[in-house]
């Protein structure tokens, strides 16, 4: 129980990541691949956010009365992973945008978003 409580967040992220990864490489539909990609990236974000979590700490916004006195780092959640993940979210939405644009282009070229049907048309 201790062990499960200690690590379950990480396990869930691994599981989500497997789902996303599976969709990315096995799914035939291009949009599904993209959905998988989103899940995959979100899982990584979950992983990072879990790194930052800290028992008994609050959100990383310094309270105003703490100005003068020394600030105890254990009192606030580690902000660094949050910063990194803001970037990762931005990256994922950018990738999503470009991917969808490509899907539109592919659709106009082949009339379908199923990979096997496209490959059939190419041959």
């Amino acid at each position: 129980m201790e062990l499960i409580l200690a690590k379950y967040n990480y396990w869930i992220y691994v599981f989500l990541m497997m789902i996303g990864f599976y969709a990315m490489i096995v799914k035939n539909n291009l949009v599904k691949k993209i959905i998988g990609m989103s899940i995959f990236q979100t899982a990584i974000i979950l992983f990072y956010v879990s790194i930052g979590a800290k028992k008994g700490a609050t959100i990383p916004i310094i309270e105003h009365h703490a100005h003068s006195g020394a600030i105890d780092p254990a009192h606030y959640i580690n902000p660094l992973p949050h910063v990194l993940m803001l970037t990762a979210i931005v990256v994922s939405v950018s990738t999503l945008g470009v991917a969808l644009a490509l899907i539109l282009k592919i659709y106009h070229q082949y009339g379908t978003v199923e990979e096997d049907e496209i490959l059939e048309q190419i041959q």
Partner: protein, 251 residues
């Protein structure tokens, strides 16, 4: 293919699972991640940057360089979508039409509500941008919300309605300007003799500001740049995706 995929997925899962064994327990205050670099940010943010939201100060100052590129990732995506989809000539014939083609009737309730609510959304967005120093939020979130307000217009009316308020040219211009503000502030620091993005030298040109306050202002300036760029690019991506790059009628 499916079998190979499953094997790959499974082995990845196993590997990652194996790695978790060595992780420090979840939310452990004694984990290396909590002890090595982050205490500095938490302890010094007020003294060094005068920003109480540590995420903002790290985002826009300590790791401001990352954020600059992060914003340019968005910009890149916008330009990329334009490059891929935008069709300038009208006559390009469509071989395959979208399958969902029925046009929705304009709904008066939605339109009215939108008209009322959009200014408030934008006001809120501005608040998020400006108040990012002290509360969750900042340029990025605010920019997205601003962009979303325009997208909401486009959805409930049509694309033309949005383009009347913010044309394509203006949109691209704003995207470039937003990033120019960010990198320009950085370059300004170089011109003032410090390293890139070292906002503290801005006190030389901002009247009555100490070096720490200059950092705070620098962060604000940067956030504004981010917000403008993000808003513009979100609009651009939506406009292209929803109209197939033709900018005609949208969804």
């Amino acid at each position: 293919m499916k079998a190979i995929g499953l094997i790959t997925v499974f082995s990845l899962g196993m590997a990652l699972f194996y790695a978790t064994i060595d992780f420090p327990p979840w939310a452990d205050p004694q984990s290396p991640a909590s002890l090595h670099v982050s205490p500095h940010y938490i302890q010094e943010t007020m003294k060094e940057t005068d920003v109480s939201n540590v995420v903002t100060s790290v985002l826009a100052d300590y790791r401001g360089f990352d954020t600059m590129f992060e914003t340019s990732v968005i910009f890149t995506a916008g330009i990329a979508v334009i490059l891929i989809l935008r069709k300038y000539s009208k006559k390009e014939d469509e071989k395959f039409l979208p399958e969902v083609s029925e046009e929705a009737e304009p709904d008066i309730i939605i339109q009215t509500v939108t008209r009322i609510i959009v200014p408030f959304i934008q006001l809120f967005a501005l608040y998020v941008i400006a108040h990012g120093h002290h509360s969750p939020g900042g340029g990025f979130q605010g920019g997205v919300i601003l962009g979303a307000s325009f997208i909401l217009l486009a959805i409930s009316f049509n694309l033309k309605a949005m383009l009347r308020r913010i044309s394509e040219r203006k949109d691209i211009l704003l995207g470039g300007i937003g990033l120019l503000i960010y990198s320009g502030i950085g370059a300004l620091c170089v011109l003032l003799g410090a390293n890139f993005l070292n906002y503290k030298v801005l006190h030389l040109i901002i009247p009555e500001a100490s070096q720490v306050e200059a950092r705070s202002y620098g962060i604000l300036g940067v956030e504004i740049g981010v917000a403008i760029a993000v808003m513009a690019i979100m609009i651009a991506i939506y406009a292209n995706l929803s109209s197939d790059g033709k900018y005609d009628k949208g969804l």
